[in-house]
Symmetry: C2
Subunit: 189 residues, 2 copies
DNA sequence: GACTAAGCGGAACGCCGTTCCGTATATTTC
DNA sequence: GAAATATACGGAACGGCGTTCCGCTTAGTC
């Protein structure tokens, strides 16, 4: 019993809000004042909170497609790439690219303030299993040392992506690459 | 001409504030409301801002000793440890321990909001040269590959220390160790 | 067209950083 | 010791932001 379906204006507003949020996130980052988003969408503050009770809900809704795409790319890369480690590296690249192009998203991802919990949860629930699969394949192929947990790796990568735009001398990609190399099994037998 | 020396009560308040801030930082993190610190010190808000115009100034003042100690440990470790890479590893451990025991400090260090600039600046100005020296020694000893910049490494390590207390499954030390291993020169000639 | 429940807007509250200035006091001067 | 003055103090006040709440509006229904 799906109750009664939502009102038309509610659905319209939800879409408008998503579009407005996406636009504002680009220019002002994911920490932009809620008022700014509401104003851009031409709705009241109450409306934004009714549709997206927490900021995290809004962020998740805005980026869900891209996260899904990233998650789905995992298995694909695994089958289409000859070495599992190469697949892992490409997948991580995808993830880093995603984070790095969203102002403040990496920061928000790690924020421990309640309210961002949903964000944290969604990203990790969706992506950690994918990462784990890639990791396991690479371990089985004897390309990397076992013992690294996907959760930890994902959070580490996320952390490394913080603040990349504050200084041109800091490029998260180089450090992530270093991390991956640290993962590689020493070639001694 | 050192102008006239400060008033006695001003000096006393400065000390009181430092102690109060140190105590509050332990319990509420370095983001604790300024009011809380002022209250704890038993002074007005104006006083805290007069002595420490920005939050970063206060944080720097509170932790200056420890940062100095860490900076000075660099050269010492280098002479007292047989391998430069081992010295680097120990030094990094020191730095991680420092960051990990200060709630929210790692976050603050990376915050790009103006006002934390002084913090960023002080930490990096003081520690990057030390790290660079260790790095260079390890490169010269042919223990690690050249091409990594101390600035980038320090920021990466700082980033990895963010959020360590939000989940027991996340241990920055393991990832930092991975990073260091990624630095090591592959043992192929 | 009237009814009703779903949805809307934005005023209002609380928290926080930061500024500003009337008041209090340490220090110097006589 | 008292007056003079530079210094420092306290906390009210302002603005920005997140979040809640409720009287009003409107879409969907009969």
């Amino acid at each position: 019993m799906p109750a009664r379906s939502k009102r038309a204006d509610a659905l319209r507003n939800q879409q408008t809000l998503l579009a407005a949020a996406a636009a504002v996130f680009v220019t002002s980052g994911v920490d932009a004042p809620m008022r700014e988003i509401a104003a851009r969408a031409g709705v009241g503050l109450g409306t934004i909170y009714r549709h997206f009770p927490t900021r995290a809900d809004l962020i998740v809704a805005v980026y869900r497609h891209q996260v899904e795409a990233c998650a789905e790319a995992g298995p694909t890369l695994l089958t289409e790439t000859d070495s599992p480690f190469a697949a892992l590296r490409q997948w991580v690249d995808l993830f880093v690219d995603f984070l790095v192009t969203k102002h403040g998203l990496a920061n928000a991802l790690q924020s421990d303030s309640s309210g961002f919990e949903a964000l944290h949860t969604y990203f990790l629930d969706r992506l950690v299993p994918v990462c784990a699969q890639l990791l396991e394949a690479a371990v089985n192929a004897d390309e990397i040392r076992p013992g690294t947990h996907a959760y930890e790796l994902m959070r580490g990568i996320g952390n490394l992506c913080i603040g990349h735009d504050s200084d041109p001398r800091y490029d998260p990609r180089r450090l992530v690459e270093l991390l991956l190399q640290g993962l590689q099994r020493p070639q001694s037998p």
